[in-house]
């Protein structure tokens, strides 16, 4: 029988109340969907002294247009990301990823805020948000601050969210000519990725003006492929270009051998999935 170590539980009734409680109680943690945190607590990989349940803070549960940005509340569930027509229209890589994140029952509970804060290198939404160059909004007692995704992950399972702070929102700029895709290979339904690649391109006048590529499960954190992004900028999209970007992905990823496969296989996958994601993202940008 797997049971977490003892902890105190409280149900937050306001965001400020949750933040105050986080500050007051050392080693307290926010719980939302709980589908990563509770398994970790059962294995004693996490032993918070207090859980602050934010599931009643439904003000944090939305996907909406705000000017030239899409804003996603931290408590938005995977199933809502999967079914969002707004996201499918502007950032279809969310749907690509959500179809292969865990399973439909888990997707009913897990949240985008929890996924990003879990900061597991094999988690898909971190790569998705990195590729579309999202910013995250972090709220503390003194107000909010924003952090770009490329500065959000400080290391494995470590994020820019500080003590007494909560990730409250993900914001993504809508830019013209954009297309995006997420490609993943997993051993079986619901498993973590062996490797996954997220790609976004913005095309104007037949030329890639900007690109974002991020890899899951092939390093200690989500890997931003900045070298490949630089290669793509200013170039017309082509199979040869995607091939070169894939070669960079194979070189720049840092997989470890484990039960999901040896290093050379994971490097090969990173390259192939990068190429496929770029191909699909470009087709969507041009359609």
């Amino acid at each position: 029988m797997q049971t977490p170590a003892r902890f105190d539980y409280e149900r937050a009734t306001s965001l400020q109340g949750a933040i105050a409680s986080l500050k007051e109680h050392e080693d307290s943690r926010i719980i939302a969907g709980g589908h990563s945190l509770l398994p970790m607590m059962k294995l004693r990989l996490a032993s918070p002294t207090r859980l602050i349940d934010i599931n009643d803070l439904t003000d944090l549960q939305y996907i909406r247009e705000e000017g030239d940005e899409i804003a996603i509340g931290a408590l938005t569930r995977h199933v809502e990301l999967l079914k969002s027509e707004l996201l499918a229209e502007h950032f279809p890589l969310f749907k690509d990823a959500e179809l292969v994140i865990a399973d439909p029952v888990v997707r009913n509970r897990g949240t985008i805020g929890g996924s990003l804060c879990q900061a597991d290198a094999a988690e898909d939404l971190s790569a998705v948000c990195a590729a579309v160059k999202a910013t995250v909004v972090i709220t503390g007692a003194d107000g909010t601050r924003t952090v770009p995704m490329d500065q959000f992950h400080l290391g494995p399972w470590t994020t820019a969210v500080g003590e007494g702070e909560i990730l409250t929102e993900v914001r993504i700029a809508k830019r013209p000519g954009g297309g995006s895709a997420h490609e993943k290979v997993e051993r079986r339904a619901g498993d973590w990725a062996i490797a996954a690649a997220s790609a976004a391109v913005w095309i104007d006048g037949g030329v890639i003006t900007d690109a974002g590529i991020a890899l899951s499960a092939v390093g200690l954190t989500t890997i931003d492929l900045t070298r490949a992004e630089e290669l793509l900028r200013g170039q017309p999209p082509s199979e040869e270009l995607f091939e070169q970007a894939g070669a960079i992905a194979s070189e720049d990823c840092m997989p470890i051998p484990d039960s999901r496969g040896p290093v050379d296989y994971k490097r090969h996958l990173a390259g192939v999935l990068t190429k496929r994601a770029l191909r699909k993202a470009t087709a969507r940008a041009l359609s």
């Binding site: 398994p39 029952v105 888990v106 339904a189």
Partner: protein, 158 residues
Amino acid sequence: MNISININGETVTRDVEPRTLLVHFIRDTPGLTGTHWGCDTSNCGACVVQMDGQPLKSCTALAAMCEGHEIRTVEALEVDGKLDPIQQGFHEKHALQCGFCTPGMLMTTRALLDENPDPTEAEIRMAISGSICRCTGYQNIVAAVRWAAENAEAEVQS
């Protein structure tokens, strides 16, 4: 802490530790052992119940998190001796052998049919992708869900 949860229409109150998982709350207090306690890691789906109509893996929810929500377990499917069409479908199509995964399969597929009364085979397979069955090879489970979809008029309760 004192927790009150509405389970199958009845309020169940018990003094439990905050770390009590929903699956144990359901099985221990009202003694509703139809909900099976399986892998304990949210992989196998044997413990699936419905919370506010949505399937939930009850091994990965604290009982405390479910206060104020409506939990429905496999025991609620049969009403006055009449099986729910999804139960009848499992019977007609021989969709179980050992039966360990069955409660979770039933609650998962009942929720699917409530949302999508005429699912395709692909939609059924996606819906049960978080539930593991080591006996049937899934073929008969898919057939049972189709049987229930085609015989929905047999439904007498929700």
